[in-house]
């Protein structure tokens, strides 16, 4: 009953279009004043201490690092490298765009920006070479989403933040340790590669069926030049992953070091950004981070209310008593998240839904890392589904195709992603094999 009231208030506030963070905060206050006797002071404390964790500070650093390298010049280098490597296969530039998106998204971390950067360079080139623009739009819209699955990923940090410190019990009654940022990043590698390959296969199949043009095989010297140019950007991922896995840095330190590295590469190696443009990059990154940190603060308050009303526990007991089992529960979670993903932004969804679903999943014996990666894949699909898929909007404005047309062009890749979601959901090994091999 209490749960119903809380979510009704939240839904009513959200539907007005107010910022998600504000809606969360107002829900907390409305509930406190109207329906509960939780003392105000404990809420006030959350307001101040909600984001006082060093792990959360990875978010602004990752955003800053990404923003330094979210530039047309970096996108061009990635595209050049990808098309020199795979452009001569079936799918030609389409296949190249899948890999360019994967590379660029991993560095930039923003899906819509990836669609914008790669799309605005590759789409015109593809049309000029005689590909139908629907084909290009489909590949780029879908592979632009790879960024939140391939580490470093802000959404993974959000999941780690939302679930860390939650005391939950597994099916055997033992406490379950929540997933760390490092675990999630390492676990994201294999699914990221698998999804990129699956999208590539779909692209090759569509291109083979439509008999689309292919590039000439690039000579080795071209490949080497393209690799040398793009390697500076790609080193960013190596620094982060190597640093975290090698135990040299904490994720937050890795993020800060990568931000400094990205600054050096963007200003002095690539020379894409002039020193006088740096304040603008700083300002944009600060504003973006502040927006996310603001959602976190209010989501922490919201989660606190839920917990103090024992809602996750009640929900968990109820679902376990339904006897859905692991299989049924994960199916319901996927359906629910895909639905919410159609209207809301990934970080906000993870912050609101993770604290509710996590205890249930743990009670049913799902691995915390596996569950996190599954949430992220759902969010990725949400970026490409109407009515509010950011990637669709960007692709639509780039290609001048309507939203419906863009959605229709994306469906073969969207189906591929759903297939991949099923794989990740029901074959935990895809996610867990690498962390286990590395002994994490």
């Amino acid at each position: 009953m209490t749960a119903l009231i809380i979510f009704l208030i939240l839904a009513l506030l959200l539907i007005t279009g107010m910022p998600v963070s504000i809606a969360l905060g107002l829900t907390v206050f409305t509930f406190l004043f109207g329906f509960s006797d939780v003392p105000m002071d404990s809420i006030a404390l959350k307001l101040f201490t909600g984001i006082e964790k060093f792990e959360i500070m990875a978010i602004p650093f990752f955003i800053l690092a990404g923003n330094f390298l979210t530039h047309g010049g970096v996108a061009r280098r990635m595209i050049r490298f990808a098309s020199s490597m795979v452009g001569h296969w079936y799918g030609g530039l389409g296949l190249a765009s899948v890999f360019s998106c994967a590379l660029f998204a991993a560095i930039s971390g923003s899906s819509p920006a990836t669609v914008m950067a790669v799309g605005s360079i590759l789409l015109p080139a593809m049309v000029k070479q005689g590909y139908p623009s629907q084909f290009g739009v489909g590949t780029i819209t879908s592979s632009g989403g790879l960024g939140i699955l391939i580490p470093p990923s802000i959404v993974m940090v959000m999941y780690a933040v939302a679930t860390s410190g939650m005391v939950v019990k597994g099916p055997d009654g033992a406490d379950v340790l929540s997933a760390s940022i490092g675990d999630l990043f390492i676990a994201g590698v294999v699914p990221g590669l698998v999804l990129a390959s699956m999208l590539a296969v779909t692209t090759i199949w569509r291109a083979w069926k439509g008999n689309y043009p292919r590039q000439n095989r690039a000579p080795l010297s071209d490949r080497w030049t393209a690799f040398r140019e793009s390697v500076w950007g790609l080193m960013l991922i190596v620094i982060i992953m190597g640093g975290i896995y090698g135990g040299i840095f904490t994720p937050t330190e890795a993020a800060a070091v990568s931000a400094v590295y990205a600054f050096v590469v963007a200003v002095w190696v690539y020379k894409d950004i002039k020193l006088r443009d740096v304040p603008k990059v700083l300002l944009n990154s600060a504003a973006m981070s502040a927006m996310l940190l603001y959602i976190i603060t209010n989501a922490v308050m919201f989660a606190f209310i839920l917990t103090s009303e024992q809602i996750p526990q009640a929900l968990s007991e109820w679902i376990v008593s339904l006897g859905l089992g692991k299989v049924g529960f994960l199916l319901v979670v996927n359906a629910l998240l895909l639905m919410i993903g159609m209207v809301m932004e990934p970080s906000a969804i993870v912050l609101i839904m993770a604290p509710i679903l996590y205890p249930v999943a743990m009670a049913l014996g799902v691995d915390p890392v596996h569950f996190g990666i599954m949430l992220v894949v759902n969010m990725e699909i949400g970026l490409c589904t109407p009515p509010v898929g950011l990637n669709l909007y960007v692709a639509s404005s780039l290609s001048r195709l309507g939203l419906t047309e863009v959605t229709r062009s994306t469906w073969p890749w969207l189906l591929t992603m759903l297939l991949f979601l099923a794989l990740v959901t029901y074959v935990p090994a895809v996610t867990l094999v690498l962390p286990q091999m590395l002994g994490m």
Partner: protein, 209 residues
């Protein structure tokens, strides 16, 4: 006057993120330098190089005397300030995302009403936070609590909450006023990427796609 406030807000949050980044970078470098100097001392001792041993030892002592343990704490507080003021800046530029499918589909008076409600929600929430925050800061000040590493009075750090929220409240009022008088809503473009024009020109000149 207002332009000055805008500018101040921008400079403040850009500075905060820059300082925090440099700080954490330095503390990581510092940790590496200690390790390196210690290795050098060990190497010199193992190979009986007295002068190198002495130099390395003094370097090690110098670096080790510099304590960077406060860097993490400082970074958190810098970001707390950045988050609160950045959120206010975000209202001005329309970066805060919401679920706008209904508002986008409505027209005329209905749209006007629902957007007014949405923005008033922002005004109301930030006003409540300003009030609670001021009260909280006042109590912390009376309690005389200080931070563990920097030993800074906590009330100064927590001051970010009432100040930032007050500014944010003002920004929501501004946005509401702008909407009611001109019908405009600030909107942040999440797909914005710099340097694409230059790339398009390159392509037109026959550059490699």
């Amino acid at each position: 006057m207002l332009r000055l406030l805008d500018r101040l807000e921008e400079v403040l949050i850009a500075m905060l993120i820059a300082v925090a980044t440099v700080l954490i970078f330095l503390s990581v470098t510092h940790r590496f330098a200690i390790g390196f100097a210690a290795d050098l001392v060990g190497y010199a001792r193992a190979h009986d190089m007295t002068s190198l041993n002495d130099t390395a030892r003094s370097i090690f002592k110098a670096i080790n005397a510099l304590k960077m343990t406060w860097a993490q704490e400082a970074c958190i507080y810098l970001f707390v300030w950045m988050a609160k003021f950045g959120a206010a800046y975000g209202v001005r530029t329309g970066i805060h995302v919401g679920v706008d499918i209904l508002a986008e589909r409505l027209e005329g008076a209905a749209r006007r009403t629902i957007t007014t409600i949405a923005m008033s929600g922002g005004v109301l929430f930030t006003a409540i936070i300003t009030w609670i925050g001021t009260d909280f800061v006042w109590h912390v000040r009376l309690g005389g609590q200080t931070s563990p590493d920097l030993e800074m009075p906590m009330w100064i750090i927590y001051l970010a909450v009432p100040l930032g929220s007050a500014l944010m409240c003002f920004r929501f009022l501004q946005a509401l006023h702008l909407f009611l008088t001109t019908g405009q809503i600030a909107h942040h473009d999440h797909g914005a990427v710099d340097g694409l024009d230059e790339e398009a020109e390159d392509l037109a000149k026959g550059g490699h796609a």
